[in-house]
Structure formats: structure tokens, C-alpha cells
Symmetry: C2
Subunit: 338 residues, 2 copies
């Protein structure tokens, strides 16, 4: 069996996460038992939710145990199979974690899923046609439910989730406005992703200044907001909401380090009769088939062309992950392992 490199969570961050929280080790891959499959990972997904798992405190999910392989989505190829439904060479999606190989009990529901790479590149099953895409779909379709002509704003618009939110909003006849960090990302959001406008939050030092830019970009107000960030962006957009606007809360990246991020204007929830709803896509498995079908078609037909940032080799995963938390990636952050 091949040598398997792995990244473990070595210790928990105090404040900001650092590379010293992780440890790279090498291990033998165990021999397969009946019903198991050995997967060679081609790509590892890096996602903001992982930062939450690094903390010990109670959150919606159990914390990542110390000394174990970091959790994470993976796509790859079956290297060896002792399960009747899988054959060497099959392309598969799973939760293999931060390592080069994984041994999977393939009969466990949801553990491993075969995918078709005819029209959709394998890596996109970790992005637009995977968990981030379904996240976008759930928040946009099930919470915001935009009507034609309404305005939908999304923060972290150039990211894996945000880019799908914009495309899904446009296909429903809504106006899509992004918020992103820096002129390059904003240009990408409007020119390549087809958003109607994009606001560079780095040009604004407070919520009131950002809010003026939101007003300019949304002359008819905001009917739906897909929140990937929290903090200043949420305040700024809430100030421009129309009556009965819906806010889907998907990410609060500003708060993962434990610092307080108060919401400045909660009275707007009443005066604008807002609905603000937090969600976690893994709790809504019933929508995945419908969502993946639409997302696969959008990617297959070129209507959604997600961008990826690739880090090379497992050892680069910690630094790539820390960069993601600081917004240094461009689109979906992956680690290429082969």
C-alpha cells in the first residue's frame, strides 16, 4: 500500500489560526477490508467552515479532534475496491480529509459518490457542483427566493459560494450585486461572472461609507442579501433593505476568531420587516439532488464559469487555508494532490 501524507490538527488556535496549529505526518494506508475502497485524492477542498471546527467551543458541529486528520471534502479516483459498486478508476466525491489517500466504508450512505466528468471537470464537484454550490442554491432559492426584477446582494461574491449565488439570481431574473475585496475580484465578478455591479469593500472604512456604495449600486434597494462575511457588510446592506427583504446568513467569517462583531442596527429587522435566517447546507440534504442538477447544467452549458485557486501538494494546505481566511484566494480554493 502507498505511503499516505496527512495533515493533523495539532493544537487549537488562540485568536488567529496559524500554520503551527497543524502537523504534517506520514502513515501507511491500512489494508482494505470487505466493503472498503481506497481513494487517491486528486483535489482537497479548503472552506471557511473548517476554521470553526478548529475551536473547542460548542458550535453547530462537533470540534475537530486534536491529533486527527483535518476534515475536508475531496475528489479523486478509486485506486482499489473491495466494494461491488466501485471499480478502480471511478471518479468519486467524498469527505476524505487533508490527506493523499483515504480508506472509505463505501456502503455507508453518503460516504462516497461516483461523478460524471464528461461535462463537468472533477474539481468543480468540490465547488460549484458541490457543497459550496448547493449552499448558494439553498440560501438563494429557499430563503431569499428572489422575484424577477428584485435586487440580490452577495458578499464574498468572487468566492465559490458567492459566484454561484450571482448566477442563480440572474437566471431567476433578479439584479445581482456583489461585494468583494479589491479591484481584480470586482472586475472578475462583473466581467466574467456577469453580476450587474460589484462593490469593493476595501475602499470603505466603515459601514456607513460602504452603505452609500450599496445605495448607488442598488438604486431600487435590496430585496435579498446572501451573507458570507458578517460585520461591516451586514450593517451596510441592512441599511439599504426594502420592506420584507430576506437575509440568508451563510457565513460570519469575521467572528471565527472569537472577537465580538455586534450588529449595529437590529431595529431595521422590525422597521423593514426583515427575515434573517441562518442555515447549514448539510442539514438540508433533501435539496441536494435538485440543486446539483441545476448547478451541473449551469456549469456544463458555460453559464457558470467558476474560478479556482490551486495550491500544489498536501504540505501547502495549511498556508493556503490561512490565505483563504484572509481572502487571498480567487474563487474556489483547492489543493491539488496529484
Amino acid at each position: 500500500m502507498p505511503q499516505n501524507h496527512q495533515v493533523l490538527l495539532d493544537n487549537r488556535p488562540e485568536g488567529e489560526a496559524t500554520a503551527a496549529n497543524f502537523r504534517l505526518v506520514s502513515a501507511d494506508t491500512p489494508a482494505l477490508q470487505d466493503g472498503q475502497v481506497l481513494v487517491r485524492h486528486h483535489y482537497l477542498s479548503l472552506d471557511p467552515y473548517m476554521r470553526g471546527r478548529m475551536n473547542a467551543g460548542k458550535s453547530y458541529a462537533a470540534p475537530q479532534p486534536l491529533g486527527e486528520v483535518m476534515i475536508g471534502g475531496t475528489v479523486g479516483e478509486v485506486a482499489e475496491s473491495r466494494h461491488p459498486k466501485f471499480t478502480a478508476g471511478d471518479k468519486v466525491v467524498g469527505m476524505g480529509g487533508w490527506q493523499e489517500y483515504s480508506v472509505v466504508d463505501a456502503g455507508q450512505p453518503g460516504a462516497l459518490r461516483k461523478v460524471d466528468t464528461t461535462h463537468v471537470p472533477l474539481s468543480h464537484y468540490l465547488g460549484a457542483v458541490g457543497m459550496p454550490g448547493v449552499t448558494a442554491w439553498y440560501g438563494l432559492v429557499k430563503i431569499i427566493d428572489p422575484q424577477p426584477g428584485q435586487t440580490v446582494v452577495v458578499s464574498a461574491a468572487s468566492g465559490a459560494v458567492g459566484s454561484a449565488v450571482g448566477t442563480l439570481a440572474k437566471t431567476r431574473g433578479a439584479r445581482a450585486v456583489g461585494i468583494a475585496g479589491g479591484p481584480d475580484k470586482c472586475r472578475y465578478v462583473t466581467e466574467e461572472l456577469g453580476f450587474d455591479a460589484c462593490i469593493d469593500y476595501r475602499e470603505h472604512k466603515d459601514a456607513l461609507s460602504l452603505s452609500k456604495a450599496v445605495k448607488q449600486a442598488c438604486p431600487d434597494g435590496v430585496d435579498g442579501y446572501f451573507e458570507n462575511v458578517g460585520g461591516m457588510c451586514l450593517d451596510a446592506v441592512m441599511l439599504r433593505t426594502n420592506a420584507f427583504a430576506r437575509i440568508a446568513v451563510c457565513g460570519m467569517i469575521a467572528g471565527y476568531n472569537g472577537e465580538p462583531i455586534p450588529l449595529q442596527y437590529p431595529q431595521l429587522i422590525l422597521s423593514n420587516r426583515l427575515r434573517v435566517e441562518g442555515f447549514i447546507v448539510s442539514e438540508h440534504m433533501e435539496v441536494w439532488p435538485q440543486a446539483l442538477q441545476e448547478l451541473g447544467q449551469l456549469v456544463g452549458t458555460g453559464k457558470l464559469r467558476p474560478r479556482e485557486t490551486l495550491a500544489q501538494g498536501l504540505a501547502s494546505a495549511p498556508e493556503a487555508f490561512l490565505g483563504l481566511l484572509k481572502g487571498r484566494n480567487f474563487g474556489k480554493q483547492l489543493v491539488k494532490l496529484v
Copy 2:
């Protein structure tokens, strides 16, 4: 025609509202035209929403115009009628404002409604079987939708809205926990209204302290919260919410004077997958018949025994209203005009 005393909004508050914002005047009541009805008001309703109308700024409703009679719900008796559907002596509910008499275009939809006082005292049509009761009903039934065994918390629990929320929650098999100001109100909430517990927020100087009391009173966590107050109460209860809890935002009295009341822990919206929804009952007229029927039965059968605080005479309305904003009333605040 009788002399009519009226309270006008004379000038807008800067910060806290004061008696000097109002002006008492006397006017003739005009002669009736065809289709009009003269109503002699027996009771005037005082409600927190009126504070919002006193401001010039944009809110969900147009500001109260200066120099005009303050808006307000009234119950009374038809003194004279030139409308075929109304007869002198009919008991009616309307929006007569802060005055002793009103002339109503009775054919206008919703302007005037006859009520039956056989089982329900006339004044309760301004409280438990009126707008505050329907407000309680909408937030509890349509937003919180408590399941048997779940825990519902309501702030301002001894008030007109809060008391109805508790009774409606109990009839649905939920545990009802109130928050109120002072030992007398808390005793009333548990002993007379039948809540399972009540927390005196005045014993707590910050949200974390209040939150510990919420934990004690809600050993299984909070599944629904009916918010009449905002500020510290909202922070304290949010910290104790269970996954998928619903928060109906009905009032943010702490913010009416324009001071900032940030929400301290918005990340809980995500980590606990909360739904936070603001609403205004007048925008949901479709539920009024169903809600009023249930509320009328609860009052008629003695299951809901709302308390009232009566101020005597129109001239007492401004001070009674300012007292309401400071929580000096006990139950529904009314002005008795006859």
C-alpha cells in the same frame, strides 16, 4: 354638537418624548354628512408604536403630522348615525385618535367595526381581543409556531401583547417563560397569567447575567422568543436559543429614542440556525378574523384575564403614554374618557 377635547402632536421629541410634545385643545365636532357616524369614545388605547410615529424619520409608517390629533385606537358608542349599518348605542371599535369624539366615514373598509360586549368587556377590544392580541397571535402562531413541549420566552410579559403570547403558547402545549420589570409584574405573570416562570430583568445589569437567569428558567433551552423590547433582553435570550429557534420581532422599544442598540452576538443566527423575523400586524389583515375568534374565546372563557391600567380623562393621556414607555403601566394601558 358636543365640545370635543383633543390631544395634538405639537412638536417632535429630541431624544426622550416629553409632555411638552403634546397640546390639549378644544374643538367643535362638525355636523354629520351622509354616511358618517359620530362616535363617543369610552376608551383610548396607548401603545408603544405611537412613539415611533412621533419621529420625523422614515419608519414603516408615515410620521404623525404635527398639529393633528394623535393617532390611536378607540372603543366607544355610536352617538349619532347617518350610515344605514350603524345605530345610536352600537358599541364600536375604530381608530378615533386621542380625542373624546370622532366623526367617521363608516362606509370606508375597516374604519369602524361593531363589537359584541356580552362576553367580552368593551375595553378588551383595544387589548387582548384587539390589535395587541392579534399581534401576539401573529408572532406566536405564524412565526414561532411552537410545538408541544417547546419553550417560548416573551419580553414585556405582563403587557397587553406579552400576556396574550403566554396564554396562546400554553394552549399549544408549550412552556411559557416571561421577562418583566419588577417583582409585582413577575408575580402577576406566573400567578395570574399562568406562565411557568418569569424573570425580573431589573435584577440584572447586563445581558450575561440575565442570560444565566434565562438558562435557569429554560432548562431545555429556548425554541421561540417573542421580542417586545430589544437590547439586553434580545442578547440574553439569543444566547440560550436551541437550534432552529424562531424569534418574532414585534418591538424594539429601547431604540425609539434613536440611541444605538447593537445586537451583541449576531453569529448565533448562524451557529444556532435561527430565524429572526420582524412584523407589523396591520400588514397581515388576513389573520385577524381567525385570531380574534380564538382570543375572544380565551377571554370569554376566562382563560385569558388581561389586566388594564386606566388613566382618567383625556388630559391624562400624555403622562400615561410617557409612563407606558417607561414600563410604569401594568397590563394594557388605556385612557378612560367617560
